[in-house]
């Protein structure tokens, strides 16, 4: 188990290096430098641009820049050694002068806790959406399976199928138009995200697809378990329905559900940026979208690496949990 864990953890390294290398190469093959792509801004003169490039190390060969980004390098102007990504340094933002990428993403405003940072906001939103997906999706799937081929089942299946197919941002559009523009029940221009009631909409939109998927998977897993011999045995020996469902069926039916939680979590994390943008949510996703429109290359790269790390860790943790839940799974040695 320990060797397996270590091997999986080491496997994260080539993944992250590849992700950052690909991102790095693509970003640097973009025509123009970070200072001349934005036509609306004041253009910098040649001398300033040269010293800026030297300051950010952009005058060095590309492999050296990549090395500096990952490991670290000596700054040619100040002469001090600047550690790279291995120390958690994602480099300075090209657009927000004087701030580093990790500072923008992980630091909360003065006097606030970590949870008030952009990353913290996104994590909370994603966590709530996942909780919603689990606590509504699984019971929905169970009920649908137990009442198979009834109107309850069909309704649940219909909700699940449409929830899987309709993309979350389209759902968001529908909900915003209905509840905000037509009925005026909610306000989409929220300025104070500390109030929990505003979180309801983005959370439901973000979690709906995952919830639908969880419900569908739970239903099919339950249906499979329902016909097993040991369920008949459990009933035959006179166990109550509640015990049969909760102890015998659910324990086995939830195993496949656990396997999708990793991809689901990853989907929630990466899928959040469009929802965050739509609801003007102050999270990491919106920072990313803003960085895209401002062509803030270092910010885009840094955020991508963090997203990749999150996805990889989510998948890893699910694989590990899976081994614990299902004793039938043997690790390949």
């Amino acid at each position: 188990m320990v060797t397996y864990l270590i091997r999986r953890l080491f496997w994260l390294i080539p993944v992250l290096v590849t992700v950052s290398a690909v991102t790095f190469i693509i970003m640097h093959s973009a025509p123009g430098g970070p200072w001349d792509t934005d036509g609306e801004r004041r253009q910098v003169d040649a001398a300033t641009e040269k010293s800026l490039a030297a300051y950010y190390g952009l005058d060095k060969p590309m492999w050296r820049q990549f090395y500096a980004y990952i490991i670290g390098d000596t700054n040619s102007q100040s002469g001090e050694y600047v550690c790279g990504m291995v120390c958690g340094n994602l480099g300075p933002s090209y657009r927000q002068r004087g701030r580093t990428v990790q500072d923008i993403l992980f630091s909360a405003p003065e006097g606030k806790t970590f949870w008030q940072s952009r990353f913290g906001y996104s994590v909370r939103l994603g966590g709530m959406a996942l909780a919603m997906a689990i606590f509504i999706g699984i019971p929905l799937g169970i009920i649908a399976a137990l009442k198979q081929n009834t109107i309850v089942d069909y309704t649940a299946l219909f909700v699940a199928t449409s929830g899987i197919s309709v993309p979350s941002f389209v759902l968001a559009i529908f909900l915003i138009i209905i509840f905000a523009s037509k009925l005026h029940w909610i306000n989409i221009l929220v300025d104070d995200w500390t109030q929990v009631k505003y979180w309801f909409m983005p959370m439901s939109v973000l979690g709906f697809g995952t919830m639908a998927f969880t419900a569908r998977l739970t239903r099919s897993a339950m249906l499979e378990v329902l016909r097993q011999d040991y369920i008949r045995t459990a009933r035959a020996k006179g166990l109550g329905e509640r015990v049969v469902v909760l102890r015998h069926m659910l324990k086995n039916a939830l195993i496949p559900v656990i396997t999708i939680l990793g991809p689901a979590l990853a989907g929630l994390v990466t899928g959040s940026f469009i929802i965050e943008t739509m609801f003007s949510f102050p999270g990491m996703g919106r920072a990313y979208v803003q960085a895209i429109s401002q062509r803030d290359y270092s910010m885009i790269m840094g955020t991508t690496v963090i997203y990749a790390l999150l996805v990889a860790v989510a998948n890893l943790s699910v694989d590990v949990v899976y081994v614990f839940v299902d004793p039938r799974i043997r690790l390949e040695e």
């Binding site: 992700v19 915003i176 099919s220 499979e224 979208v289 885009i300 997203y307």
Partner: protein, 329 residues
């Protein structure tokens, strides 16, 4: 890897009922498919949108790029109450921020979504099948190398990759071909072949143990022929199903990229074939959500409808091509 590979042996030949005139797999599947109401609905909707896309220039009531001065943000005739602007009957879904006809623009938008659904899928199937077949059939070190490659690509958050590619290469030569669609196709294909490759590899691994492959090898059939004539046709079912589920994902991705402003470049020349896309239209509509919500609603409904139809069709195809899977997913 801990994930237990589920048995994916699809021995479809078994399913042919021996007591009636034999039908080919295609006929069998087709008759099952058209009995499924949801997938028939899906097929009708998809056909409708393909028709719309192909004949947009004839169907669209107006030129999608024509600016109507002084007629900005007109509401549609059937929903007068939003603003105090007077609706005009020639603009069935109202007009946008520059006085262009929303309906015509939505009809032209179907072109991009349809092309984005089908073109990359073709590349994905070609690439994925080739890699999967080679990997599964040859095995050994080649297999290991190719599968590690797919692992890395799998770990890359795909939407982020598309965004990076579109942002960075937008102004290069390739980014400008066909309003940026070529670049979009390439980006979509590079990431998505991985799933197909894994699927095909799994199929090949189980099929190459089968007796008919052994028999073929015994009579001296060449490897390439075994792969393409014996193994490939037998893994066609799951492949078709995965393609049907691939398409809606691609359409959604295009819409998201357009919505973020990094997708298709909106054309200004009415001679262009791809004028606009649903994602781009949604981006336009976002700012006018209170004054002209139909700018946002119309493309959103189209995306939802097309995606839902492809999902229905995919479900139907899976049931038709492999009846044992019915109701299990």
């Amino acid at each position: 890897m801990t994930t237990a590979q589920p048995a994916t042996t699809h021995n479809i030949v078994e399913l042919n009922d021996v007591f009636r005139p034999s039908k080919s797999l295609g006929q069998e599947a087709w008759s099952r498919l058209i009995r499924n109401k949801a997938s028939v609905f899906g097929m009708i909707v998809i056909t409708f949108f393909i028709f719309l896309a192909a004949f947009a220039s004839v169907i669209a009531p107006m030129n999608p790029l024509e600016l109507h001065a002084g007629k900005r943000f007109l509401p549609p005739p059937f929903d007068q109450g939003i603003t105090n602007l007077k609706a005009e009957s020639q603009f069935l879904l109202g007009t946008d921020s520059l006085g262009r006809d929303v309906l015509s623009r939505v009809i032209y938008g179907a072109r991009v979504s349809m092309v984005v659904g089908f073109m990359p899928t073709a590349i994905i199937l070609l690439l994925g099948t080739t890699v999967g077949m080679v990997s599964g059939y040859i095995g050994g070190r080649t297999d290991n190398l190719l599968m590690r490659l797919t692992d890395v690509i799998y770990a890359f958050p795909d939407l982020l990759f598309f965004i990076i590619v579109m942002v960075a290469l937008r102004d290069t030569f390739i980014g400008q071909l066909m309003n940026g669609l070529i670049l979009l196709f390439a980006a979509l294909a590079i990431v998505n072949w991985v799933g197909v490759a894994r699927l095909v590899r799994g199929q090949v691994l189980s099929l190459k143990q089968k007796e008919f492959v052994e028999a073929a090898r015994c009579i001296g059939v060449k490897d390439a022929r075994i792969m393409f004539r014996h193994i490939l046709p037998n893994s066609l079912g799951p492949l078709i199903v995965s393609a049907a589920f691939q398409i809606p994902g691609l359409i959604i991705t295009e819409a998201i990229l357009g919505y973020l402003g990094v997708g298709l470049r909106p054309a200004t020349d009415s001679a262009d074939f791809f004028i606009t896309s649903w994602g781009v239209l949604m981006l336009d509509g976002q700012s006018a959500i209170n004054s002209q919500p139909y700018m946002l609603l119309a493309p959103a409904i189209c995306v939802a409808l097309v995606v839902l139809s492809f999902t229905f069709l995919g479900d139907g195809l899976r049931d038709a091509l492999d009846p044992r899977m019915r109701g299990t997913q």
